[in-house]
Structures are given as C-alpha cells and as structure tokens.
Symmetry: C2
Subunit: 225 residues, 2 copies
DNA sequence: GTCTATAAAGTGATAGAC
DNA sequence: GTCTATCACTTTATAGAC
C-alpha cells in the first residue's frame, strides 16, 4: 500500500464502510470487512481510527452532510407548489430506488446510534439535518410559486420528513412502485393544501418559522413562510 | 429446569428474545442472552429452535400479530372523524412513548429481515399487517362518523402507516413530545380532509377498496368507504 | 429430555518486526 | 509508517455425559 496521509486513510475507510453497509448492512461492517473493501490491512484501520465506533460517528456525519448537499440541488423549475412538491418527492424517491441499500443504511445507522452509548446524540443531529433540508426546499419552493405556508415552516418540514420516511420504509418492505407513486400523489395534494397565495400586505414577522419564537403552540397561525 | 413442552419452550424463548431486543437491540439478542433471559441453559435454545433465524422468524410473526390485536382495540368513541383520527394517532403514540424499545425493535427487525436471506418475505407480511390494521380502523371509524373516504381505503391506510412510521422515527431521534403532538394535529387535519359526509344514494361498488380491482390507478375516484 | 463442555469460526484491538 | 501475527473474547451450534 502506497503511503497516504492519515486524513486520506480516514476518508478512504469511511467511503469503504459506507459501501459495505449499503451492500450488506451495518452488522456486516466489521473492521476486517471495511479494511478489505478499502484494500488495506486490518492494522491500518486502527492506525486511522481509535475504534470502530469512531469511524461510525464520522461516517454518519459525512453521509448526512453529503445527503444534505445532494438533496439541496433537487429544486425543480415548477411554478405551482403542488407540482414542485410532487417533483421533489419524486427526486427523493428516485434516489431511494436507485440506491436502496444506501437509504436503508441511513435507517440502520440511526438505530445503531440509538442503541450505542456515546452515539446517542447522532440521531438528533441526523434528523435536524433532514429538517433543515426540508425547510430550505419548502421555503425556496414557496417563494418561486409565490405562496406562503399556512403552518409554521418547521411543522411543514416535519410533515415532509415523516412522509418521506414512511414512504421509504413502506417501499423497502413491499417494493411496490405504483403504491409509492400514489402515496406521493396524495402527499403532494395534502402539502399543497398547506400553501396559499401570498397576500402582498403580508407582515414580515418570524420569517424563519423558528419554533423558539412561537408564542403559543396551541394556536395555529395563518401566515408563515 | 422443570420439564416444558417444546411449544412452551419456544414461546418462552420468543418472549425472552423480545424483551432482550426491546431492551438492548437486535444485535444484543444472541442465543446466550435469550436463553439467559428465559432462565434456560444455552443448549435448550437449540433443542427448541434449529437456529437463531428460525426464532427471529417466529418472533416477527408473533409480534406483528400481537400488535395487530392490540391496535384493533384502539377505536374510540369519537363521532367526528377528525377527533377519531387524532385519538387513534394519540393511542398509537402513547404506546411508542410507553415502550420505545419495543417499537424500535420492530424497525430493527424489519431491517434485519431485509438483510437476511431467507427472511426476505417477512417485511412484506409485516407491512401488510400494518395496512390491514389501518384499513379496519379507518373503515370502522368512518362508519361511526357517518363519513366516507374520498380516496381508496388502501391509499388512506398507506398514508396513515407512513405518517405513523415517520412520526415514530422522528420522535425516537429527537424525543420532542410537543413536536410529535403538532405533527399528529396536522396529520389528523389532513386525513379529515379525505373524508366527506355519506351521500345516502351512494353506490355500493368496491366496498373493500381492493387494489387489484381498481380499473386505473391514475384516476382518483370520488367515493370509497 | 436436559445440560456441561467444547468445537469452529468470527470479532475488535494491539504488540512488535520491518 | 506499515503490516503480519496474535491475543482475548464472543458468537452459533453440537457432541456426548447424565
């Protein structure tokens, strides 16, 4: 093996681990399997990482970030909000169908982190990243379609993430493409009902939809973007 | 250990396995851990089951069935459909909060089955059971509220299961009870928009909403129950 | 029927030669 | 810096004594 910097080795091992996990699951991602996938002897693993969990932690962070960047690009040219939402769901779903193992790996990593002491803070970060992606896409999509969301942006984003999670799990279980398409249709119909045309005299309070600034969670405000 | 029939042993081991998985995850459910939890020597495990996977297979079937029976009881006395749906979601969510490990175990078992050759047919059965529960509750709830669903029952059921899956995963990740409550509010609002008062001249075609009998998935019929 | 003892294979991690 | 060889441990599964 030619000489690599410690950082190069770490990156190569993380990418190798991701391939192994996508192909055969988190359980199969042993230090030996990861090192072999990266074409390194086992000892190089522990030269680059203190432990297997240290690699898993870096892996989740890197994959979440790369998913964030990839999904951010999925804004389409649609002008009406229903079509834009439907297209966004389809773009995500195409990703799932193209690489089911990869998306499955994200769920497995979530559950692994939930069960592993010392990794317990990862799930929150993972979902916060999902929510942020959803918020950005929903905000930009609404702006392009000249609509505002009638629920706080955070809540719409949570709905989107919940729906896509459910969509993904259901499809992974039954591989029913047509049912997934119908589900995305219904979800897009629903989300579109949460948007209304902008009123030009709209107040500009709380443009972020920050949950901490909501005066009363019980009240359901009329205008957010 | 006193003498037990083979069937009693199998049942005891399955229940012990479920406790271990709920407490510490699928990975921790080794034959040793399961036998110890059941208070048996290791060899009794292999006397009752040919292999660990044979137990897992039986475990999933039993747990799915017991969840089916438990959830079937969750019909409330609410008469308007929005309240009934909201109460149903709350009943499910209370179950998740009370026993998070158990619900987490169902996801872990799904992913385990998806990765294990010979268990590949379990996920489909698991989700078909979820869908059936949802269909029964939605049909009965609609009947009590004197409404009909404006989408095929199957599609409403898939929406419900997707939303609850997403709800559960999100809560497991961030443990945000208030956010989960808001999500259930939005979901109930949405699902209620898919119901309309019964028209008494309603035709009685396709009362089951069977997907195989739908003439054209692209068309979105107006009346189903 | 029941259980101790052990086989056979796999695991994360490391010592120490080069 | 790199890698072979190995440690200490855990896993599933079974042989064979009682």
């Amino acid at each position: 093996m030619t000489r690599l910097s410690a950082e190069e080795r770490r990156s190569a091992l993380v990418q190798a681990a991701l391939r192994v996990i996508a192909r055969r699951g988190v359980t199969a991602a042993t230090t030996r399997a990861i090192a072999a996938e990266a074409g390194m002897p086992l000892a190089s693993f522990h030269y680059a990482f203190r432990s297997r969990d240290e690699l898993i932690r870096e892996l989740v962070a890197i994959v979440v970030e790369s998913e964030r960047l990839a999904t951010m690009k999925s804004l389409t040219a649609d002008v009406d909000i229903r079509s834009a939402v439907r297209a966004g769901l389809q773009a995500y779903f195409d990703l799932v169908v193209t690489e089911p193992g990869r998306e499955q790996a994200m769920f497995e990593l979530l559950h692994y982190a939930l069960r592993t002491p010392g990794l317990g803070d990862l799930p929150r970060a993972q979902y916060e990243s999902y929510y942020e992606v959803a918020r950005v896409l929903l905000r930009e999509g609404a702006a392009r379609a000249n609509v505002t969301w009638t629920l706080p942006l955070d809540e719409v984003a949570k709905l989107v993430v919940s729906l896509t999670d459910g969509l993904t799990l259901g499809w992974l279980a039954d591989r029913d493409d047509a049912a997934a398409a119908r589900l995305m249709d219904s979800a897009a119909d629903f989300l579109a009902t949460l948007a209304e045309p902008v009123s030009h005299s709209e107040p500009v309070t709380d443009p972020q939809g920050n949950p901490d600034t909501q005066p009363d969670p019980k009240s359901r405000p009329e205008e957010h973007s």
